[in-house]
Amino acid sequence: MEKQYYRSLDELKVDREKVNEKPVKEFEAEKDVLLDLMEENNFNTSSSRRDFLKVFGFSIASAAVLASCEQPVRKAIPYLNRPEEITPGKANYYASTYFDGNDYCSVLVKVRDGRPIKIEGNTLSSVTKGGTNARTQASVLSLYDNARYKAPAIKGEETTWKNIDQDIQNQLNQLTQNKEKIVLLTPTIISPSTKAVIEQFQQKYPTTQHIQYDAVSASGILDANKKTFGQAFIPSYHFEKAATIVSFGADFLGSWLSPVEYTKQYVQMRKLDEGEQKMSHHIHVEAGMSLTGSNADKRIIVKNSRQKAVIANVYNHLLALSGQSTFNAPETSVDTKAIAEELYKNRGKSLVVSGSNDTDAQMMVNGINQLLGNFGKTIDTSVHLKIKQGIDQEMESLVQEMNEGTVGGVIMWNVNPVYDYPGTDAFSSALKNTKLRVSLAESKNETAEETEYICPVNHYLESWNDAEIKTGHYSLGQPAIRPIFSTRQGQESLLRWTGSNTEYHEYLKNYWTGNLFPASGYLSADKFWTDKLHDGIYETDQSETNINGFSSNAIVNAVSQLKNESTKNIELELYQNVSVGNGTHANNPWLQELPDPVTKICWDNYAAISPKLAEEMGIEDNDLIRIDQKPIPAVIQPGQEYKTISVALGYGRQKAGTVGEKVGVNAYIFSRFADGQRLTWSTVKEVNKAGEKYPLARTQTHHSMEGRAIVREATLKEYQKNPAAGNELHEKIESHHKTLYDKHEFPGHHWGMAIDLNSCTGCNACVVGCSSENNVPVVGKKQVLMAREMHWIRIDRYYQGDQENPSVVRQPVMCQHCDNAPCENVCPVAATTHSNEGINQMAYNRCIGTRYCNNNCPYKVRRFNFYDYTGADALPGNIVDPAEMTLDLKRMVLNPDVTIRAKGVIEKCSFCVQRIQEKKLDAKLENRQLGDGEIKPACAQACPADAIVFGDLNDENSKVSKIFKDQRSYHLLEELHTLPSVGYLTKIRNKEEA
């Protein structure tokens, strides 16, 4: 019975012809009726004329209906017995945990009629506090990825779980008998119960070594802490307690360790709500322009090879300031004294972090934080962050052993070293020396394709799981759908291979009730379990006790050996962007189409080069260049270090599925091992122009504000003197507002949105959240190249000042829902109108696609469906679907509350009107007033920085009304008298000069 919810594989294959046949067939059926009637020769009977007219009328009517019906008929079958908890048309939310080995997020999964369709942040978590990032938001689409492994396979042949289990078990037993080494290769495991499963596995097969492998690791921090604290761990950082933040290349808002958590913390010290006068000072030292660097108050450009020297100098100055003996630090041109002095002034409320994987650099950072007394204040060593536990050295040794032939079998679970291990084919050739190669993989990847046994694992939304992200901070993951394919979660496979028949669900429950329940204070284990499952999290105040005191011996040792690395060569820096990240999710079209927050480029990675170097080498944007023979398109990046080229990791997947394959180039090959750590920068032997062009899809091609008051900003000092600093225009324009016409009246609600430009970091979570909520189509690189991306919300980015080191401003722009909307009065068919709640609404059915509204929108937020991107149209020629988004499988991610748009209509942000309606109805049913903050549009929900506030402007006490009265508040292009319902708060920078 229940199996019927899910479709078989064959049915899932796209069969457009079939779909398009349907209406024709129906029409033919009616034609048959007509013919039958004719043949019966009823004309002789008394009612023949009437019958004829009836049939005639019916066929004309149905022909008319069919002709106007643009959508093929799809059948929905009602439940015979209503499953518990499910009300058709109403969403259920289940708490779960997203962890892919890299990003952690405590989430709520929105499930509609049995299908997970949206991921939202779980506000109960004290770590992520309801925030999400782009990849978490996009993860729901990966569930319906056509490139997922759909059944177990031996050497490419599909097989049954029984067969594959037997085969693998036999081989494992053989290897154990021969005392040959088995390696279980996984990313960092933060699940305590999984760790127990692995232990059980190791007991059964004692020659098993478990190696955690992180493609982009924090091995340097682990090593440094081992040397200074005696234990390899990552502490908890508290950016919300730091008045001065100095980051040496740590992109903590974008990709470093736990960006969602850090963004939440960071913005606490940046918000100037309710007259707040203070904010943190953020100094960022880096070579390429990162998301975090672009948000910094002061950005210092230093190439990667010289960053260690800067850290050493800061350390040295601090040693001097605190009256300790100094050492001979290598020279640097950076004014490190000023940094040291500022830090010293803020002892105990400052935070210094480094993104480097160099142990020495990390040790010196530890030394700096120690001198500043930050341990125990802004850095908590008693609560550890459990992600990124991979030690690079272990992986390097493994490859060596594999090459020597001393490894018998490798079980690779959710890792892809064939793709992301340094060098071309280094891992792949080593892998060939093993006897047993098993892959526990979710979707098509380079590593799994080189193994004999593919045991497909569930997507996290189909799995049970748990996690301990930080010491004592547990969370649970629960399935929101049965496995769509014949997959099995990894833990289950390991359990089977140990011979155990326990289901992992049971195992997990037993683990929690056995290990966590006793100390929970709950009386009943069942209650404990159901409560925690409901909340998704379980937090205790456990702490790590076995941390030694700080020892600076190792640092003294390290600084004495510091050399002045003189490098005239061009350096290559590798980084992770906010969309594709480490490349695991390269097949996710929402992520591929997400414009980079700095360059605004999507569907490719590229070599970011400095304007000066580009001029010297005669390189222009979109020129193909060769870095050590490897061709890659160039982008001139203002603020890039003169002789550093930055390239994003995660691209150039060879086997990933239709979407992710051959997008960009694989930059992992440039990473290298040095002093036991894997470094993401290296020097380049040669860079030259290839003499070809390679067009990059860029959603924003003009980077200056042209002196217009679009993003208004002021320095902190100016703001302290006058809260309206930088926003003087607002009052002036408001006083000029005059109109001959009657004002719109909003008798009930008047929805409005406020966006704090000081909080927005540009992380793009809102963009994916919006796409997911509103079924925003993916258009592919070609269309983006033609400037036809469909995003309903975009984050504009402008540079100001010197192109060698510009300041960056960002502004999320969506439909401004103008109360005096230029788009509304120009639509000839009134397809876009104003609701009595202040929403500028689109009636897609009515739109004929004149695009006049689009032309007349000063904000250019309206999007036209140039083609049929969603399979909503009747003409097959209209379909443009580079990302397989019209596959039935992928269409399961569509939100049934939001119409998909046909070719030829305009669409745009609706303020998530479906969410407004839902909450209004909830309040009505419960016979109460709608509370402020109850409605959260998808963008506001997704935002980890709480930069977006939505509410009722008619309610004087709503948060949004209060923000609108703030002196920092203004409207975009308010001089046009469009009266937008979206307001912005000025950006305030904590720096001296404007």
């Binding site: 042209e706 002196g707 217009r708 269309q783 120009v826 639509c827 000839p828 009515r846 689009n854 904000y859």
Partner: protein, 456 residues
């Protein structure tokens, strides 16, 4: 009626009524020349290109055009406005010049009006094809329906629908009314049975009785009265598409007069382009004289100067307004990435027509022909400049973008040129391209015969 002896005769070569009929109907008699076949072959080829473009646009979608998120209108609307402009000369000549009793119009009004109809047909094609959902285009008509849906009367696009269709219908009726006596002439002269039957049907039983003439004259005058304001209103309303918007470069109160004079300017240029060729090819040099050409050139220099002043006024107002967006829009026109289009427009529309101040040039057929082509090109670029340069860089630099037409858009434009010339070539074979009856009416007062007799 007294005619000043200084005036040049409007019809040369001492014609009598019969000769006039013979001369004007001559191109319709016999087999068409090989030039005609070549012409229609080329036109049909161009039309075919347009047909292919249309099918591609409908089958694959507007995505096959070069438009994007920032620039919603491209060549499509440029062509619409250009064609509508061209369609202005006919009605101007037949209605306004009729009301002003300008006799010289009689030689050119028929073909100019026909041209108007063809141009309006070409123009009307673009708003249809540029719709995202062509099949639902009927939504734009205010028809009663059970869903209580109504059109938006605030939208200039809706005004366009009414303005253009009214203009098209009135022009058609006006043209046809004028054609009736000539159709009767054709009927009377036709030797072939079927031809005779068709002309008979089309001439509505015209007998040439005094009553018919009287009614015809009255109707013509009334129609002229109706059509005259339309000449001004159509392009005014087309200009509202831009003028009522908020986009810098569009939001300009000068647009209505500027568009109307531009339209007449381009309309006359197109009439000249066609007539200079036609008078030669069809041996109508006696009817369409250098004098006619000069008169039209005078209108071109007038309207061209108005257009030139409008351009300068726009620049001045942009500076004077102090609005940074407006200032940028015009700086960007003159110096931005589409500056080449702007300077083509300036050269063709402002500088070249000023050459007509020289009588020699004004009366030179070759110079007039070349300049008329320049004006046609310049006026096309005027619309391109207004639409593209205003849209491609408006308020928020983040959305700035560039536009280049796709092959499909080019094909559609060529297609309408093909349609225009196909219709014109068919027209010269089917109907007298000079209003025989009207020419006859001025033959006595302005023919060469009459002139000489004045002296005698």
């Amino acid at each position: 009626m007294y005619v000043s002896p200084v005036r040049e005769p409007l019809i040369k070569g001492k014609k009598d009524y019969n000769k006039v009929t013979e001369d004007i109907t001559a191109p319709m008699a016999g087999k068409p020349s090989k030039y005609w076949y070549m012409g229609i072959g080329l036109s049909l080829l161009a039309l075919l290109a347009g047909g292919i473009g249309t099918v591609i646009t409908i089958w694959y979608g507007i995505g096959t055009w070069g438009l994007n998120k920032t620039i919603g209108w491209g060549w499509g609307i440029t062509n619409l406005v250009w064609w509508i402009g061209i369609g202005h000369a006919g009605t101007f000549i037949s209605a306004i010049l009729l009301l002003f009793r300008q006799k010289w119009r009689t030689s050119i009004n028929r073909s100019a009006e026909a041209m108007t109809l063809m141009a309006v047909t070409c123009a009307g094609f673009f708003p249809l094809i540029h719709m995202g959902r062509l099949l639902l285009g009927f939504f734009i008509i205010p028809y009663p329906n059970t869903r209580d849906l109504w059109v938006n009367f605030n939208s200039p696009l809706l005004w366009d629908v009414f303005a253009i269709s009214t203009y098209g219908i009135v022009s058609l009726l006006f043209w046809y009314t004028g054609l009736i006596p000539d159709l009767a002439t054709m009927r009377d002269r036709a030797t072939h049975k079927i031809k005779k039957a068709i002309y008979n049907l089309l001439s509505f039983g015209w007998t040439g009785s005094a009553r018919h003439w009287s009614r015809h004259e009255t109707l013509s005058l009334i129609m002229a009265g109706l059509a005259a304001p339309l000449v001004l209103s159509v392009h005014t309303i087309v200009s509202f598409d831009f003028a009522t918007s908020v986009i810098p470069g569009w939001h300009t109160t000068i647009f209505p007069p500027y568009f109307v004079s531009g339209a007449i300017f381009s309309g006359f240029a197109m009439v000249l382009t066609l007539m200079i060729v036609a008078r030669k090819a069809l041996n109508l040099e006696d009817y369409i004289t250098v004098n006619h050409v000069e008169s039209m050139n005078k209108i071109i220099i007038t309207t061209g100067s108005i257009v030139g002043i409008a351009y300068l006024t726009e620049l001045f107002v942009a500076w004077y307004s102090g609005v940074e967006y407006e200032q940028y829009a015009f700086m960007n026109r003159a110096l931005g990435p589409y500056a080449w289009a702007y300077w083509i427009m300036m050269t063709c529309n402002v500088i070249t027509p000023q050459l007509f101040w020289f009588k020699k040039i004004r009366r030179s057929l070759i110079a007039t022909f070349i300049i008329s082509i320049f004006v046609n090109i310049g006026m096309w670029f005027e619309r391109f400049v207004i639409i593209i340069t205003s849209l491609h860089r408006d308020f928020l630099p983040s959305s700035w973008s560039m536009y280049a037409p796709s092959l499909v858009e080019v094909a559609l434009f060529i297609g309408t040129l093909g349609l225009f010339f196909t219709l014109f070539l068919l027209f010269i074979r089917a109907f007298p391209i000079i209003a025989i009856a009207e020419v006859k009416s001025v033959l006595k007062s302005s023919g060469e015969n009459k002139k000489h007799s004045n002296h005698e």
